[in-house]
């Protein structure tokens, strides 16, 4: 599905306007980047509270489908610019990782 539709269903705020098709094979929740690097897989949705530019590098390295920043954490400008440049969708929500995980589950992503 396209990223704006994805955002609408999950009530997420897209943080840059680049639209791309999102393919979701799974979900990983984590904030320790080195662990995410070893556990998340291609086309996974990544839920985190981290906002440093390094998250974009991790998403690119693993070919993640998108990053969702939870708990309303503010994302740095350079993080967003890099994500836009590389076509990696970043969304934000004020919900917790758990609440968002429930929504993803309701969407049929197990």
């Amino acid at each position: 599905m396209d990223s704006s539709q994805f955002a609408e269903i999950l009530q997420l705020k897209p943080l840059h306007e680049g639209i791309k098709n999102i393919e979701v094979k799974g979900v990983y929740i984590g904030d320790l980047l080195s662990i995410v690097m070893s556990k998340a897989k291609e086309n996974y949705v990544w839920i985190t509270i981290q906002t440093h530019m390094n998250i974009v590098a991790v998403a690119q390295l693993l070919d993640l489908s998108c990053i969702i920043v939870v708990e309303g954490m503010e994302v740095e400008k350079d993080t967003l610019e890099k994500a836009k440049e590389l076509g990696i969708p970043i969304f934000s929500t004020t919900e917790s990782a758990y609440q968002l995980a429930l929504r993803l589950s309701d969407m049929g992503i197990k």
């Binding site: 980047l33 080195s34 662990i35 390094n54 974009v56 590098a57 690119q60 390295l61």
Partner: protein
């Protein structure tokens, strides 16, 4: 990373890949100063000004096998989260020194981790590189030098599994003796 020792291992392997023949790892752990200082210094090929600026960029790597190189960017991010910093001192042909500082009691500071394991792994990775490791705390100082160890070994191989395992225990025991 979960432990700071994992970062040390990561940076040290960079040094060895940069053809270092001498690697100096220094840890200063002080409750009195509320600081944890780490430096990793090598005599490898060093970096140009241009590369030095790029290595803190997560999208730069000297490897061709991947698009991003995260060793230094991740360590820098972790230092800064703990009100610390990371400095790079490097000249082409002269080697590189990475220094970093963490606020010791910061809640986000990762534990140092198992340095015996880390030094053992570094020795095993660095076949032609000598290693000097210093661990200093408010309670004392411990110095480990592969040159000295090799003298004691009298020709036995430091990379022999039983020797490496002894090195690991020797380091951990000595560090425990001056832990704070």
């Amino acid at each position: 990373m979960k432990e700071i020792s994992m970062h040390i291992l990561d940076i040290a392997t960079n040094s060895i890949d940069a053809e270092a023949t001498l690697l100096e790892i220094n840890i200063e752990d002080s409750k009195i100063n509320n600081s944890l200082k780490i430096s990793i210094k090598d005599n490898g090929k060093g970096m140009s000004e241009e590369v030095k600026i790029k290595v803190t960029d997560p999208f730069y790597t000297s490897r061709t096998s991947r698009k991003v190189g995260l060793g230094i960017p991740l360590l820098k991010e972790n230092c800064e989260k703990c009100n610390g910093y990371l400095l790079i001192d490097s000249y082409l042909g002269m080697g590189t020194k990475i220094s970093c500082f963490f606020e010791r009691d910061n809640i986000d500071r990762a534990p140092l981790g198992n340095m015996g394991d880390t030094i053992m792994s570094i020795i095993n990775y660095a076949r032609d590189c000598e290693l000097i490791y210093t661990y200093k705390t408010d309670a004392g100082e411990f110095l480990f030098n592969t040159k000295e160890i090799k003298k004691i070994l009298q020709g036995a191989d430091i990379n022999d599994t039983s020797v490496l395992l002894w090195v690991k225990d020797y380091i951990n025991e000595n560090m425990l003796g001056i832990s704070i």
